[in-house]
């Protein structure tokens, strides 16, 4: 037990420290970055389970109220990447309507916020991660990087 404790501790600590950082994998295809960040930031593949990504990429012509249809070769290249890095925990990282913002993980992370927080003029939509997370585009969602109202909320706790 003595010998395993430090290992356990390190593993736990590493998990906690990693929970709010989703580094962009170095083999991310350029087409993923350019296409998926056209209308919103390119959401980290780690935030949705693999089957959920498959479903999403299969219905881009009806993409949450927008037609985001791509050439089949581009869909294939992006999906291959999403399947390499997509979450394996389907319970925490999928939702009935396919939105990241309605996964258990997301809801838990934002449970302290009133629903109205996402509808302010500055934020506009729950899709707009970068409105509160200064380094969202780099895949970093640390609390100390929070901006504006979200930062005030964090401080008032």
């Amino acid at each position: 037990m003595k010998s395993i404790l430090p290992v356990l501790f390190t593993a736990l600590f590493a998990t906690a420290a990693q929970a709010d950082v989703f580094p962009v994998p170095s083999d991310a295809p350029a087409i993923w970055r350019s296409e998926c960040s056209s209308c919103h930031i390119a959401y980290p593949p780690q935030l949705l389970a693999k089957p959920a990504w498959r479903h999403l990429m299969g219905g881009l012509d009806k993409h949450f109220g927008d037609n985001a249809k791509l050439a089949p070769a581009d869909v294939a290249a992006i999906l291959a990447f999403l399947e390499r890095y997509g979450a394996t925990d389907g319970k925490r990282f999928s939702s009935a309507n396919g939105r990241i913002s309605e996964t258990r993980w997301f809801l838990k992370e934002h449970s302290e916020l009133p629903a109205t927080a996402f509808r302010t003029k500055a934020v506009g939509s729950v899709s707009n991660c970068a409105a509160c997370h200064a380094r969202a585009e780099q895949g970093s969602y640390r609390e100390r990087e929070l901006l504006g109202p979200a930062q005030d909320h964090e401080r008032s706790k």
Binding site: C39, H40, I41, F64, G65, D66, N67, A68, V123, G124, S125, S127, N128, A130, A131
Partner: protein, 133 residues
């Protein structure tokens, strides 16, 4: 000889796309629209600001791009900031013909409910780019 004809000849002569500048991309669309066509910034503004019914979330080009090419816009659904359409403020704007065509294709179907004509594209570029009268 008209500018659009010159552009067309240039295209025929070189056999490749012209230098990808806002003016050249506009000229290529104008040439495509016909020999008698002249791009109009006034028509472009009317087209760009017209209220439409094809998509409830995007009821005009201005729903995301604002009614000023000099102002930053926001995606009407996601809230993502969109850099000003004016190439004077956003230097990379209209500098890649394929990208311009991709967005016309995508946004015309979404907002207008059909493909835009070459003339409409030339007009919009004349308005946003400020190259034509």
């Amino acid at each position: 000889m008209r500018p659009s004809q010159i552009a067309l000849l240039f295209l025929l002569y070189t056999g490749t796309a012209p230098a990808e500048t806002p003016a050249a991309i506009e000229a290529a669309y104008a040439a495509q629209a016909g020999t008698d066509f002249h791009a109009s910034a006034v028509r472009g503004r009317i087209f760009f600001t017209a209220r439409r019914t094809a998509s409830p979330a995007f009821d005009a080009c201005t729903a995301c791009h604002t009614d000023s090419p000099e102002q930053a816009g926001r995606h009407a659904i996601t809230g993502r900031v969109i850099a000003p359409m004016s190439p004077r403020l956003t230097l990379s704007r209209f500098s890649d013909q394929a990208k311009v065509e991709k967005w016309f294709h995508r946004n015309c179907r979404e907002v207008v409910g059909r493909e835009c004509s070459a003339g409409e594209k030339a007009d919009v570029l004349a308005y946003l780019g400020g190259n034509s009268r």
